[in-house]
């Protein structure tokens, strides 16, 4: 399968601080890829390397089959970018900025532009100095979604949007995916990634700690189990793969490793189960596990 982005062992230091420390990232063509990490983990630095704005100290980066630094201008014809902190020219109107960005990218679809302005409820005649953070973000988003490109690089694009606008944003991303475009979505909002992304890469301190489809990642993590039982199960606590066990009368809660699930369910059914709820791990739990582990 061809890859829109292929990054291997990327290293980038700013003086003493190592922003990227051997980062790997592969975004397949046509997928929506979630790029997850806490603040300061190197998401924006990776984006800047991919956009040819910074040069890595070592490692390999490939974008749409080209070299992001050497072929920057040519490659930029085929992508659109929305920075996390959008700053615009205070004296220009939103409409002017959208058209300016559209023109330098080689034109945008006027019908799509009008439709997006309406959906995002953006007044294009206001000067950019009067826009809030969310509205500045909408300007960049409209310009990106209305241009005809293969790849969208979105750096925490919804950090200033309200929940209604987030929903509009989600629909737009899904539409891009239907049209066969590739999206690299950097984020720390897990629900957004969970709704939109085919695959995710989780990074911490400039290093990739986990990468794969959501199903793959969940396989390695725990399932929450809540059950009302007919009697006590004394053997459960000593079973390998059972965590955070609490028993409150007949109510039992615990976290179970994927490979211990069969044994636990066998134990429960031996005493008799009245109700049983199992929930796959949320991305949040997945995420927390990685970062708690690292912090300890």
């Amino acid at each position: 399968m061809s890859a829109a982005v292929r990054v291997e062992a990327l290293v980038k230091s700013f003086g003493q601080a190592r922003a990227l420390d051997g980062l790997d990232l592969t975004v397949r063509t046509g997928e929506v890829h979630g790029f997850l990490g806490p603040n300061g983990s190197g998401k924006t630095t990776t984006t800047r390397v991919l956009l040819g704005q910074m040069r890595a100290d070592s490692g390999r980066a490939e974008l749409l089959g080209g070299d992001p630094w050497r072929d920057a201008t040519e490659l930029h014809r085929r992508l659109a970018y929305v920075p996390g902190d959008v700053t615009l020219w205070p004296s220009l109107t939103g409409g002017e900025v959208i058209d300016l960005l559209g023109r330098v990218r080689g034109g945008l679809d006027p019908r799509r532009r009008a439709e997006l302005l309406e959906r995002f409820e953006l007044d294009p005649r206001k000067r950019c100095r009067a826009y809030s953070k969310g509205n500045r973000q909408k300007v960049a988003l409209v310009a990106a979604f209305a241009s005809d490109v293969e790849l969208l690089i979105l750096d925490e694009p919804t950090s200033g949007l309200d929940p209604l606008m987030e929903a509009v944003f989600n629909e737009c991303v899904l539409r891009e995916k239907r049209d066969g475009r590739t999206v690299l979505l950097s984020s720390h909002i897990l629900s957004e990634v969970e709704t939109l992304c085919d695959r995710v890469s989780i990074i911490r301190a400039g290093r990739t700690v986990e990468s794969g489809s959501l199903a793959d990642l969940r396989h390695f993590t725990r399932t929450s189990v809540t059950a009302q039982l007919a009697g006590p199960v004394p053997g459960l606590a000593s079973l390998p793969g059972v965590h955070d066990l609490t028993v409150d009368g007949a109510l039992l809660r615990c976290q179970v490793d994927g490979d211990a699930l069969t044994a636990v369910l066998g134990e429960l059914s031996r005493v008799g189960v009245r109700t049983l709820t199992t929930r796959p791990p949320t991305l949040e739990e997945l995420f927390l596990r990685h970062y708690e582990g690292a912090a300890a």
């Binding site: 704005q53 970018y81 700053t87 020219w89 220009l92 300016l100 023109r103 330098v104 007044d123 009067a130």
Partner: protein, 523 residues
């Protein structure tokens, strides 16, 4: 008003260098001028002759007004009255806007306003600091003047007269800061009001309409007549006017939202016509270029008119000898005068060019360059779209300065414009230096470039008083511009080509380094 004291401390912290430098320089200047005046005009006959010449020169009347008394104090107050008020007024405007509207525009006021800070506190704090600084610089000038042998009472009045112009323009800026959401507009309207009020005073003194002087802070500063009758009560007019302006500023500020303006922001076009990088750059640079063009054209006409009077008014053997020493045999006083003026003004043009040359860096620092460079806009093309205005831009103010002066002087626009345009390569050299710094040390480029221009001005000043040798002075590119009005034009080409080559090399090196480095936004 809650929180005013906290905000005052914040302003003092942010301007801990700027404020002392401004106050100390402004406080030392009067004693320096007094001492220079005493050295130049040693007896009453020399002072009377100088006064008579000045009172007959319409340009001097327009710039400084009449001399009230041909004494050492009278001449000192006359020399500095106008320029002291100009500098104090300009700095006060910039400081008040910086700490009020600019803070709001940047969204920082909002952050503070959510704390325990009263609605009026930001304006009150900015005004307190600026009014106090003006008062301080006025009073600190007194000891130096007294040491030069001037009466203490009149010196205090002179100091307060200088301060009064600063107060008036601080109040004007407080008012314009309420008008619109853009700090650039607030600054522009306040500075334009300053220009208008200066013109009103000029008309009063040179146009024979004396009562007009009462309408302008520039008039008040000399109507107090320090060392020439000491009219203290005129300060009362100043205080009442400043109080009225300040009260209206506070009243207006309660009628608007934080970050909003009294005049609703006009809505702009829904669709844009900017074609790309160069179109955008023109939008960003045009204000500076057109504004400096208009300003320098007016200045040129004024200087040309002043120079026209010079030859007949100071047609004394001493002045002719002075002109010949500087400009060679047969040189006219007016041409020597204009050559000096050009030298100084070309450095102000350089300041405008430096703003344009550093625009690319400010775009990069603000993160706006990132948005454009992520589109198929090459880095070199983007840098050139700004650089072209730093290179071609200064030609406009220089050309219209010379053309205006030439037309008003003898109708010979081309010759004088040629002489002013000869400074273009020197301006380019400083632009080239800024471009090199932009390429190699982006984060320090702005501060370092302005320091270089400041150092050049300092070296020129020190050389004028023979405090540094010619070798040091040669470092200034402006020294190498031949005085085209005085010499023959043929000797001018070689040094200009040399400067252009240096500037070109600096620009090429800067762009090459920019091409290789990481983008360095300040966030």
């Amino acid at each position: 008003m809650t929180g005013t004291w906290t905000l005052i401390r914040l302003i003092l912290r942010r301007d801990r260098v700027l404020l002392p430098v401004w106050i100390v320089i402004s406080a030392l200047l009067p004693a320096g001028v007094a001492s220079a005046t005493a050295a130049l005009y040693t007896d009453q006959a020399a002072r009377d002759a100088f006064t008579a010449a000045s009172m007959n020169n319409p340009a001097q009347l327009a710039m400084r007004g009449p001399v009230h008394e041909a004494s050492l104090g009278g001449l000192t107050a006359w020399t500095l009255g106008s320029s002291g008020a100009l500098i104090g007024g300009l700095v006060s405007i910039l400081l008040v806007i910086r700490h009020t509207r600019a803070e709001e525009e940047a969204g920082r006021r909002e952050l503070l306003a959510s704390g325990v800070v009263g609605r009026h506190a930001p304006l009150a704090a900015a005004l307190t600091v600026v009014l106090a600084a003006n008062l301080l610089l006025g009073l600190l000038s007194v000891p130096g003047l007294v040491r030069e042998g001037l009466p203490a009472g009149s010196s205090v009045l002179f100091g307060l007269s200088t301060a009064s112009a600063g107060w008036a323009f601080a109040a004007v800026a407080a008012l314009t800061a309420q008008l619109t959401a853009a700090s650039g507009t607030a600054r522009g309207v306040a500075v334009a009001a300053g220009g208008l009020l200066f013109a009103v005073r000029s008309l009063a003194d040179a146009g024979g309409v004396p009562w007009l002087a009462w309408l302008s802070p520039f008039g008040w500063a000399r109507l107090t007549r320090p060392y020439a009758g000491d009219r203290w009560w005129v300060l009362g007019v100043v205080v009442v006017s400043v109080a009225a302006l300040t009260a209206s500023a506070f009243a207006l500020s309660t009628r608007r939202d934080v970050a909003g303006g009294l005049l609703a922001a006009r809505r702009g076009p829904a669709a844009g016509t900017l074609r790309g990088g160069i179109g955008l750059a023109w939008r960003l640079h045009r204000g500076t270029i057109v504004g400096s063009g208009i300003g320098f054209c007016l200045l040129g006409v004024l200087l040309g008119m002043a120079a026209r009077g010079l030859d007949s008014q100071v047609d004394t053997p001493q002045f002719r000898e002075l002109a010949a020493t500087i400009g060679g045999p047969g040189a006219r006083v007016s041409e020597v005068f204009f050559t000096f003026v050009m030298y100084v003004l070309s450095q102000i043009v350089t300041a405008f060019a430096l703003v344009s040359a550093l625009r690319a860096r400010s775009e990069e620092a603000a993160g706006r360059a990132e948005l454009l460079l992520a589109a198929p806009v090459g880095r070199l093309r983007w840098a050139l779209s700004h650089l072209v205005f730093a290179v071609a831009g200064p030609a406009l103010p220089l050309a219209v300065l010379g053309a205006g002066a030439g037309l008003a002087y003898e109708g010979d626009a081309l010759r004088v414009a040629g002489a002013t345009l000869a400074y273009l390569p020197a301006v380019w050299t400083v632009v080239g230096f800024a471009t090199l710094l932009f390429g190699v040390l982006p984060r320090q480029a702005a501060a370092a470039s302005w320091s270089v221009l400041g150092l050049i001005l300092l070296v020129d000043l020190l050389a004028e008083f023979r405090l540094v040798g010619g070798g040091v002075q040669d470092l200034s590119p402006f020294v190498h511009v031949p005085p085209a009005l005085l010499g023959d034009a043929s000797s001018t080409v070689a040094p200009l080509l040399g400067l252009t080559a240096v500037a070109g090399a600096l620009v090429v090196a800067g762009l090459a380094l920019l091409h290789r480095r990481d983008l360095a936004p300040s966030t």
